[in-house]
Symmetry: C2
Subunit: 200 residues, 2 copies
């Protein structure tokens, strides 16, 4: 294992390559050994970065995994074009690509389990970093009349987020393997103005 040069002495700048090595190794270990196998020791061994250097950067393996799997959801940054169906389709495809990555698929249920025991994500917008604001931007860019002002876009995002996660994580949904376009259709249905006013 190599010594951590960047943190050895005072005054040295943080070595970003060490962060990248650790995060890359975390993704590899997640894919190879799953969430429970992705320990700091395993990540240290894989990355060649000493565990003590890792602990100087992250409080626990959970923060490493969060950062390794959701580096800001960059691929979801889809510039809205104003074509609502097209933008929603690109958004859904981009998000599914991120959460469908093997490392993310391995990590997400483990992280959700961790959160059930009371530890909340380091970043409160976890799993929605850049995705929720981007979705709201897409709706704001839609032509007049395509999005019912009576619908709360945040509520639609929550439903879509659950639906996308279910496509990746819930076997009964994964096995149905429905075309992504079906989810695009349903998302547009959530947004469309009601035919004759909402009936109760």
């Amino acid at each position: 294992m190599t010594a951590d040069a960047a943190t050895r002495g005072p005054g040295r700048p943080r070595d970003a390559t060490i962060d990248a090595k650790v995060l890359d190794a975390a993704r590899d270990v997640l894919v190879a050994h799953g969430f429970n196998g992705a320990t700091v020791q395993a990540i240290a061994a894989r990355s060649g970065v000493h565990a003590s250097a890792i602990y100087r950067r992250w409080p626990s393996r959970i923060e490493i995994i969060e950062q390794a799997v959701f580096p800001g959801l960059e691929p979801v940054k889809v510039r809205p074009t104003g074509d609502l169906r097209r933008d929603v389709r690109r958004f859904i495809r981009a998000f599914l690509a991120v959460v469908g990555e093997p490392a993310a698929r391995a990590a997400i249920p483990g992280l959700l389990a961790t959160y059930q025991s009371g530890r909340l994500p380091a970043d409160e917008e976890w799993l929605a970093v850049s995705a929720r604001p981007l979705f709201l931007d897409i709706l704001a860019a839609a032509p007049a009349g395509r999005v019912d002002p009576a619908v709360d876009p945040g509520d639609v995002f929550d439903v879509l987020l659950g639906a996308m996660l279910a496509r990746i994580l819930v076997p009964t949904v994964v096995q149905r393997d429905r075309p992504i376009e079906r989810l695009v259709d349903l998302t547009l249905r959530l947004l469309q103005p009601a035919a004759t006013g909402r009936r109760r």
Copy 2:
């Protein structure tokens, strides 16, 4: 899934009270120690049933947890009345009550993690036992004109399933704590006939 009594060899009939003790203990251990703490040893200690007797009934802790947490989703058995909004509301409330139970909340992400590594649920309708058919029954009982025939009810169920799980499991959605009626509204939107035909 429990072992078939017939495969246990000759001898005494299966003692159902032992099954109940083990499943009750599994729920207690899930709440107290989480998914990872719910080992066969811990369940044996809690139930007073010897581990060897447990292994005669279930292949592993996973099958015990599946059965303990989803005993058929009985509470979701809501008889459709034909009032679509009311039936959908009762369905959502009943399902959320089941998956929102502390033992279920502790178990679901762990089970989802297990399924990512290739082991599928013993019961292929896991997490949808009685819920998917019931949802389809509710739609079938709706008055004419309330459910768009162009919509696939199974697709709507998948979206709703994901949205309900997100309300229980995803911190960014849990924290928003939106009224259940919002999810009822959105579900009805998915079902309603389009205003002027679907635009593309």
